[in-house]
């Protein structure tokens, strides 16, 4: 029982925050709760603290919209939050799509779909930065927020809070895409919001640290990691995970039986030594 807890404690808390936030947002629309109103694009806590999606604001800027003060404050709050807890903490602790892609990934591992497809992934993980750039270009040319009109993240989240419509189709598309077409396809390759938070996450404070002396090279962490390229130092060097693409999901920490991985605040002095 204790090992079960040890192996899934962060997963439990992640699901708790993901579902908890959905419940709060849903309650705001359905029963008039004021704790957390709006949705992931823009929300307000207790009617006082605004929060706004900085990537949406960036698209608005590209589209030529005038940015209101409330929006800018909201963007500041969100940027500061993810600067502290890790940019892509959004992806694994907040985003509702994470539950869908995690489910697809879990099935992929259990069913052995990787084995029929071979090892080679047909797309680069840098695709997301291209999509990010493209979204801003299209926003600029078309004068609308390009990603916001196709974003399955907002579609699903808005769907749960305000009514789904055909939003279930978006969920199914992502699930099947990740399951049968590309491993970690949406979150790990395409999603420009993840790309945006990856860039922001380069500078964030909370990091996973690897202690090489404790590592027994079992490689469970690399197997379970949705962004396994960020764990390049496993068994080689004692280093923090400095890539912004790490989602701070902490699955690696959970599966490690040797205490070779842990959360800690980024040590600036150490970064100087490694040149990052």
């Amino acid at each position: 029982m204790k090992t079960l807890w040890n192996n899934y404690r962060y997963l439990f808390f992640r699901r708790l925050t993901q579902v908890g936030l959905l419940v709060l947002y849903f309650g705001a629309n359905a029963w008039g709760w004021t704790l957390l109103m709006g949705n992931l694009s823009s929300s307000i806590i207790l009617g006082i603290i605004p929060m706004s999606d900085p990537y949406a604001a960036l698209q608005m800027l590209a589209a030529g919209a005038v940015l209101a003060v409330d929006l800018l404050i909201g963007v500041g709050v969100v940027t500061l939050l993810y600067f502290i807890i890790g940019g892509r903490a959004f992806c694994s602790w907040v985003c509702p799509i994470n539950m869908i892609t995690d489910a697809a990934n879990f099935l992929r591992r259990k069913l052995g779909i990787d084995r029929i497809q071979g090892v080679k992934q047909p797309a680069s993980r840098n695709l997301r930065y291209w999509v990010l750039a493209l979204s801003l270009i299209i926003s600029f040319i078309m004068g609308v927020t390009a990603f916001e009109f196709i974003s399955p993240i907002s579609m699903v989240h808005r769907g749960i809070v305000f009514g789904l419509g055909f939003g279930w189709a978006a969920m199914l598309i992502i699930f099947l895409f990740d399951l049968f077409i590309l491993k970690n396809g949406w979150c790990g390759h395409i999603c420009p919001l993840g790309g945006f938070y990856s860039l922001l996450g380069k500078f964030s404070l909370l990091r996973v640290h690897h202690i090489q002396e404790n590592c027994t090279l079992c490689m469970k962490c690399k197997e379970v990691c949705p962004e396994h390229q960020v764990l390049h130092m496993i068994g080689k060097q004692t280093l923090p995970v400095l890539s912004g693409e790490c989602t701070n999901c902490a699955r690696c920490i959970e599966v490690c039986d040797d205490e070779a991985l842990e959360f800690s605040i980024r040590k600036l002095a150490q970064n100087k030594i490694t040149g990052e």
């Binding site: 629309n29 605004p50 608005m60 004068g143 808005r158 189709a169």
Partner: protein, 272 residues
């Protein structure tokens, strides 16, 4: 056989770094173009919906689509559940707020709770403010239009449901009396909408008694025309002021240089 082998090997020689770089660039550009065009086409299509009614204080549709962050705070603020967020399948710009007056109209709350909560200014407080006070009566969500063919008041049957439902009764809708020559002894009581006062709240559309409402709200842009600078109400001092900003318009039609006589004597061919 043995002679052919070296040739085959030649073909499989690894491509040069330069070629690899150029091919990779071309591939990237190609994929970006495909993705960009498909994406743009989709966005263009989903934002093309014209017949969508926005909450009070909404910016012009173009600016609204740029500025609205699709957070739904206006929807949550609305006490009558009037406002909806467009879902996939609604065929409206995805995630933007709208309302369907026949289902639930805007009840024109004096404190306009949906507008101040907007974090981006897509719902512009200043457009519904007079003398530093919120004023729902100057809101412009759309314009009521009467279909005279299906409005039973235009048939001569007595009905003033829309007139009674109008929150700006007597200004946005008035009743015009007219003799009913069919019976010779009754009056038509025709509802007339006044565009300058109508806010497009849709309470008339909601109240209309016909099977499908004979009075309906449409976006103002859709149902209003524009006389342009050619035509001025010469009897109206206010309207004459438009002349000050009028731009000169030159006619570009080429006039025929033939004499009128020729035109009459020729066959009709040159007319076509």
């Amino acid at each position: 056989m043995s002679e052919n082998r070296p040739e085959k090997k030649k073909k499989k020689e690894p491509i040069s770094d330069r070629r690899r770089f150029i091919l990779n660039m071309a591939r990237g550009a190609g994929i970006a173009t495909v993705g960009g065009l498909v994406w743009s086409a989709y966005v263009d299509e989903v934002t093309a919906s014209e017949l969508v009614l926005r909450p009070p204080g909404a910016l012009k549709e173009d600016d609204f689509l740029k500025t609205c962050i699709k957070c739904g705070l206006c929807v949550e603020a609305c006490p009558y559940d009037t406002l909806l967020l467009a879902k996939p399948g609604d065929n409206k710009p995805l995630g933007t707020p709208y309302f369907v007056p026949r289902d639930i109209p805007c009840y024109m709350c004096p404190d306009i709770p949906c507008v101040p909560v907007c974090p981006t200014g897509a719902l512009d407080e200043s457009s519904v403010t007079t003398d530093e006070k919120l004023d729902i009566n100057i809101a412009d969500m759309g314009l009521a239009v009467v279909d005279e063919e299906s409005c039973i008041a235009f048939w001569g049957i007595q009905c003033d449901a829309c007139y009674r439902a109008c929150p700006i009764l007597g200004k946005a809708i008035t009743i015009e009396y007219e003799k009913n020559t069919r019976t010779g002894k009754h009056a038509f009581m025709k509802p007339i909408v006044h565009a300058d006062a109508c806010t497009g709240c849709g309470m008339c559309e909601r109240a209309c008694v016909t099977e499908k409402s004979a009075i309906m709200i449409l976006p103002r842009e859709t149902v209003t025309g524009k006389a342009g600078d050619y035509y001025i109400k010469g009897w109206d001092k206010e309207d004459e002021k438009r002349l000050e900003n009028a731009k000169e318009i030159k006619t570009t039609t080429e006039l025929s240089k033939k004499s009128a006589m020729d035109s009459l004597n020729d066959s009709l061919e040159d007319l076509y």
